[in-house]
């Protein structure tokens, strides 16, 4: 059954207004900076917070409904909405099997069948034979697996994941992502994943919803949203350069008047004065000494100053005027003067640069 959320919450000056839906076995990732309203959204779906208006339902079953004529609020323990957070919160006084059996036992299943089911769940999350272990003697990753098995063993109608991989090391997180994806699909549980991580969104999500200041600023398939972001937060998260400004035209062609007085040439049909945005990945930018000979015609060229430097995944990542990030391959480091304040010549292939009208709703 499909999870449908369409709610509005007000907390002082903060207002949240989100609509999203997750089909069975589908993962919807909610991305957003701190304070965007991600946790508030989870609290509303989980039944810990009542919205001022809106509904939460799974299929035809209404969990929350607040409006002029209705006020439904199903208690958390009767909602059948599972939660897996950053902290596994495995019950310390129960062994792994009893932890997983907790949901079925609370639902009235007898001890023996509940334990048998728990063992099967532990097997499904890759913890075969560890049922008798106390949480204390399990690793962080194993505890998170127990927490996942425990959440799914309760057969929730929907599952909420709140940064569930944030405290795990890279490899453990990767393994657990696989387990989560497999189990969510196998059980057909509609799932909402709140995360800061692009990796989570790309590997797990079927849809991405980007939240900022309580409103949805962008949504779509993860790969599309993250490779062609329309919102500065998404761009920063995906590591893509996004410049917003007015189109200006002179004799030689069009350019985008970006912040910091930066003028980036671009090929566009947009009229002068239009608010537009340009995006391109840092790897597409080529750096050269200022005044170098103009290359082939299929590149846009501008000059900028070096603002700061940091180690990239291979070479250097250089921040230049207008917050434009440039990845400089190791071979080039040392051949071009990259001291802070130095003037450099940047160029981007026309094909790597996307130019379009800026979305109207922007903060």
């Amino acid at each position: 059954m499909t999870l449908v959320v369409d709610v509005r919450v007000r907390r002082g000056v903060f207002a949240l207004d989100v609509a999203l839906s997750a089909r069975p076995g589908e993962v919807v990732a909610v991305l957003g900076p701190n304070g965007a309203g991600k946790s508030t959204l989870l609290d509303v779906v989980g039944g810990l917070l009542l919205p001022v208006d809106g509904t939460v339902r799974v299929g035809s079953r209404v969990l929350t409904s607040v409006g002029p004529s209705a006020r439904v609020h199903v208690r958390p323990d009767r909602r059948s909405v599972g939660l897996l957070g950053q902290d596994p919160l495995v019950f310390p006084h129960l062994d792994a099997r009893e932890n997983v059996a907790f949901g079925p036992r609370a639902a009235g299943t007898a001890a023996a069948p509940a334990r048998a089911a728990a063992s099967a769940w532990l097997e499904a999350v890759g913890l075969t034979g560890l049922g008798d272990r106390r949480p204390r003697s399990l690793s962080g990753g194993q505890r998170q697996r127990v927490a996942l098995a425990r959440a799914l063993a309760a057969e929730p109608a929907a599952l909420l994941l709140d940064e569930p991989f944030a405290q795990l090391d890279v490899r453990t997180a990767a393994e657990l992502r696989d387990v989560v994806r497999d189990q969510v699909r196998r059980t057909g549980t509609p799932t909402v994943l709140v995360t800061h991580s692009v990796l989570d969104a790309l590997t797990l999500a079927d849809e991405v919803v980007v939240l900022d200041h309580g409103t949805v600023v962008e949504r779509g398939r993860p790969l599309e949203v993250l490779t062609d972001p329309a919102h500065p937060f998404t761009a920063a998260l995906a590591g893509v350069n996004l410049l917003v400004g007015e189109v200006v035209r002179d004799g030689s062609g069009a350019a985008l008047a970006a912040p910091d007085g930066l003028l980036v040439p671009c090929r566009t049909d947009l009229a002068a004065g239009t608010l537009a945005q340009v995006s391109f990945p840092p790897t597409a930018v080529e750096v050269a000494a200022p005044g170098a000979a103009d290359g082939p015609d299929d590149r846009v060229v501008w000059h900028a100053h070096v603002v700061d430097l940091e180690a990239g995944t291979t070479g250097l990542r250089v921040r230049t005027t207008g917050d434009v990030l440039v990845d400089v391959p190791p071979a080039l480091v040392g051949r071009v003067d990259l001291q802070v304040g130095a003037l450099v010549r940047l160029s981007v292939p026309v094909g790597s640069m996307r130019v379009r009208r800026a979305p109207a709703a922007r903060r």
Binding site: G46, L48, R75, P76, D77, R78, R79, S80, V81, G82, L83, D87, L89, F91, P92, H93, L94, F102, G103, A106, A107, R150, A151, A154, P156
Partner: protein
Amino acid sequence: MTEPRDRHGVPRLLWAPAGLALGLLVMPIVALLVRADWQSLPSDVTSAAAVSALTLSLVTSTIATGVCLVLGVPLAVVMARSRGWTSDVLRALVTLPLVLPPTVGGIALLFLLGRRGLIGHSLDLWFGIRLPFTTTAVVIAQAFVAMPFLVLGVEGALRTAGTRYETVAATLGAGRWTVLRRITLPLVLPGLVSGTVLCFARALGEFGATALFAGNAPGVTRTMPLAIYSAFNGAGVSQGTAVALSLLLVAAAAAVLLAARAWRPGGAT
């Protein structure tokens, strides 16, 4: 001593007062052991009066502890989960008997449950129940002075445990009662055990409130502390008996503490 002396970074200046404090706590017991007449000890502690007092003490303290558990744990849960001024007021009310001299407690109980008391008058008039100077009065007096130890101990443990596990249990479909039974109480079991032990020990040693509210009738309200007081004041027996009975009470209290320590979940500290 193979470990460096300043391993824990304790200033040396603390050693002297710490030693004095320990001495103040331990030396009286040592003096008791030294003063004891070990010849007559066996006959003193097995005398009918001693056995009767000890039995009465153990029985009443156990019942009082049971009462404290049944009533005090719910109070602790309510306190721990209430917020703002409610919890402040509740905690102040619960702490009051703790800071009150037990004799004041005894007088207060008389004014509440005595034959002319606030409730005692009606109890006598309507049901013919007269509480003062009965074994029931002993239990009530003990519960009055011992309950705060249990409530405050359990409440503290509940606050430390927090509500995060309870929230998770609720998302797994557990109702409030199931959460309390299977998550909340097991999580605070160590606090519950230590609170119960303190509560029992306090009930066992209760004297002032009992003396005023329940009296000193042999076999009915003469618990160990009252028997010791009577013996010490020379009511028919020698001071040696008082010392012997005191040792018996010390032994009983020590046994309870040791048993609780061995039973504590999680094992050795």
